[in-house]
Symmetry: C2
Subunit: 483 residues, 2 copies
């Protein structure tokens, strides 16, 4: 017996939109073999709610070809680009892959081919001359204006902005493991975040040129949101205030680290919304619309939101879409050296310990700068300050000066940090396998003095979004420490 | 023997400025009897560092009158206003007093006479017609322009802004108690926060009228900070971007909840900087200066900052002055009812528990709205959502709509919350005195999805600023619960 589902009500909520109808009237198995991201309990749970009956194969009046198998179906991912082998792939179709920790350690600006990849569908192909790619803008009165990429490049002042993009699911694996409760979604480790220089034009300039004028038009005055739509149908929106803020640095970008956007990152045109969750920086951008309401897309209304740890059956409308992100930090590298004596304590006794080097990043949303990174070698009982690297200068606080003043708002890049210290011998506790272990911890503080929550359990949410609890890492000495 | 101190180097750092010199050459005891805020270990510690020697009374060539006693000294606090008896006084001279919890429960807008009082010195007196009070503005080129209050009222558009002011020390007592480490400063409970409607003119309008024009003047373009100086010498500054932001709502205010400013709250003129720590909303305002640097005042450079829990000898210049504040919440009221049965559990057994009602506030800096308040009845193991009251409408999210969209930036007021539930009998544990007790907890989440840290110990800082760890409250049943 085969299950029969009536997914009429789901079509509009389906992340891939109408593409779901390709499988109508036949077996979904072949499609799910390609779109393997569906093979996940929470997707099966959604499917179950649409079960309306059963049918025996022998009763099917369909000819056999409707029971599609993967090799019969045109694979929309067949034109996806080849990726760097060092990317850590979480799903292949669509490709979702994180930046390796070594890249974060080595680079303030993530190399394009090591920038984390977050695709919701296949990578669209551009058959024409990319400069002929056309962006359509729908104004509040319904009229439209369009620009080719060539026109955008020629007619408006160019701007570059260095900005970190972070997936709302970054560190989701930690939330599931740390709380003991699985959160739905891709099990990202620390690498769903990367940093680049973006080149393009200011969205505010284009909207003004297209005719948006809230000072003289009531319809424009009522506009509250700017919608972005990608070639693959992904959609999302940002508040108009962010779009028009002269300090907001929202770009329509065609360049990434001095090169044209790679296909995985939105070639030929994307939006870049610094300080906001990366889900608002829409790739393969082909349409912008001004509206008094948020984007109707799944990814605005039914996905990138957070709820309380007890809220497992959620009212999506009760929480706001994620825009600015909370303060975040992670450990990306640890080197634990062999035991050595590092001087004497106050009583003249020799102190023994393992030298340790740690590295990582810290980042906050909304343009907030990182003012301090605290590191603990003993599971949060005592703390030290990490050294913030003198990377970039986009926030006016380049680390050269000892005097830190609180100028708000344009710290769009992560701060990388380093810590060198010694884990005293007494800090280690015995693990089950006879090694000596301790928990390293990092937490960051931003310039609004927000800091990270301690507990995964208390910030758990069903979608596993915005995992920002203290990053804890268990490190153990090797056998030689017993001697 | 009497101690002799050379405080030459301290004069410029003294919170009260030159007034310290009134006591030069004689005994400080009489002065400290009046300025009793000095009788604090950390002040004695500062004083100790200036000890240069000893003198015997008999060797003093001074006549006896120099050994001042309090009744010989003109008390600058003698003209301070009479305060409402319900205010909870923390120090009398200067007066520092918090708003009673019942006022927070009863009022979205705090009545003027129950608004918390944070004075650094005595309350200045205004002898002339208050409309003749003069505000002087010093521009970047050193030129000045001045306005009487009468001119401000007559010549510029009036604006009202509803905004919460919160002392950076609010909940400091919790940090000291919760961490077991005393933090320096006034031991505020939950009431160093209040909310009011402020009436005045936009600071940006006044600066523009005074001639500030960063588009045509390089000197003005270099301006980064706006300094405020009060009649009693208190000084502080804010970033120019906040001052000029059309959404920033920074006021020069003369009205509070429909009345002239009370003397304790800045009569006849003060700045109001919504979303920033209250230390930037300067009372008894008489001078504004534009500068490329922060205010040199003690309260900008040497006080309202935070450091790591390990940083007990601080480099003041290494941390930014507090401007925007982190997300905060507190419990202001708890009513625990008598044990009753509240239905049956899944196995059909009667469930017994104590009905509980809780109330409190949540607030975040930088105009961030509160999107959720989580309450726990079992010390943070399980969570519920509190109900957010439908107070005010300044943030466009008035609670009437179930759909919450994330429009950034102008949520300047606290959100009050209520929770009604039942504490199951099994949740209570035995206390030493035989009663049954449990810890209630509250934490809030703002629209950047920042949330509060869990641990007082991990956020402890020597000045006890920005205490925002989960507010935990131990509640116990009364004797009748034993029956």
């Amino acid at each position: 017996m085969l299950n029969v589902y009536d997914i009429t009500d789901w079509v509009s909520a389906h992340p891939g939109g109408d593409v779901i109808l390709r499988a109508a009237g036949g077996s979904i198995d072949g499609y799910w073999d390609i779109f393997s991201i569906h093979k996940n309990q929470y997707v099966y749970d959604i499917l179950d709610t649409y079960l309306i009956g059963y049918v025996d194969k022998v009763d099917l009046s369909l000819d056999g070809s409707r029971l599609a198998v993967a090799h019969d179906i045109e694979d929309p991912f067949s034109d996806d680009p080849v990726r760097h082998p060092d990317l850590i792939t979480r799903t292949r179709k669509p490709r979702n892959a994180e930046s390796p920790a070594c890249s974060i350690e080595d680079n303030f600006l993530t190399p394009n081919d090591l920038f984390y990849v977050r695709n919701h569908m296949w990578v669209p192909t551009v058959d024409q001359d990319p400069d002929d790619h056309r962006l359509t803008i729908e104004l509040a009165d319904g009229s439209t204006k369009s620009y080719t990429l060539r026109e955008l490049k020629a007619r408006f002042p160019k701007r570059t902005v260095t900005a970190t993009l972070q997936c709302s699911g970054n560190r989701r694996a930690h939330m599931s493991e740390g709380s003991g409760r699985k959160a739905n979604g891709l099990p990202w480790d620390v690498g769903a975040i990367s940093n680049a220089v973006w080149e393009g034009v200011m969205l505010a300039d284009i909207l003004a040129d297209a005719g948006f004028d809230p000072r003289s038009s009531q319809k424009d005055k009522d506009v509250k949101h700017v919608h972005f739509v990608g070639m693959e149908t992904y959609g999302s929106s940002i508040p108009i205030r962010k779009a028009m803020d002269p300090y907001g640095d929202v770009l329509l970008a065609w360049g990434m680290n001095g090169e044209p956007l790679p296909r995985d990152h939105g070639f030929p045109l994307r939006s870049i919304v610094p300080g906001n969750v990366a889900a608002r920086s829409v790739k393969w951008l082909q349409r912008i619309a001004l509206s008094d309401d948020e984007s109707p897309a799944q990814w605005q209304r039914r996905d990138y939101k957070c709820f309380g740890p007890n809220q497992t059956a959620v009212d999506w409308d009760s929480a706001p879409a994620i825009q600015e992100m909370p303060v975040q930090s992670a450990i990306t590298g640890v080197r634990l050296g062999h035991m050595r004596s590092n001087g004497k304590d106050d009583n003249g006794n020799a102190v023994k310990g393992h030298p340790i080097s740690m590295s990582g990043y810290a980042f906050s949303g909304g343009g907030h700068g990182i003012v301090r990174v605290d590191v603990s070698l003993d599971n949060g009982h005592t703390w030290f300050q990490a050294r913030l690297l003198d990377d970039g200068s986009d926030d006016g606080d380049d680390g050269h000066s000892n005097v830190v003043t609180n100028q708000p708002g344009q710290s769009w890049s992560w701060k990388r940090w380093r810590f060198d210290g010694t884990v005293p011998q007494v800090t280690f506790h015995d693990s089950q396998d006879g090694r000596k272990c301790t928990h390293l911890v990092v937490k960051a503080i931003d310039d609004a003095y927000n800091t990270q929550p301690e507990s995964y359990a208390a910030t758990w949410n069903i979608r596993g979004n915005l995992t920002s609890a203290w990053h804890r890492l268990l490190v153990c000495t090797d056998c030689s420490s017993k001697s």
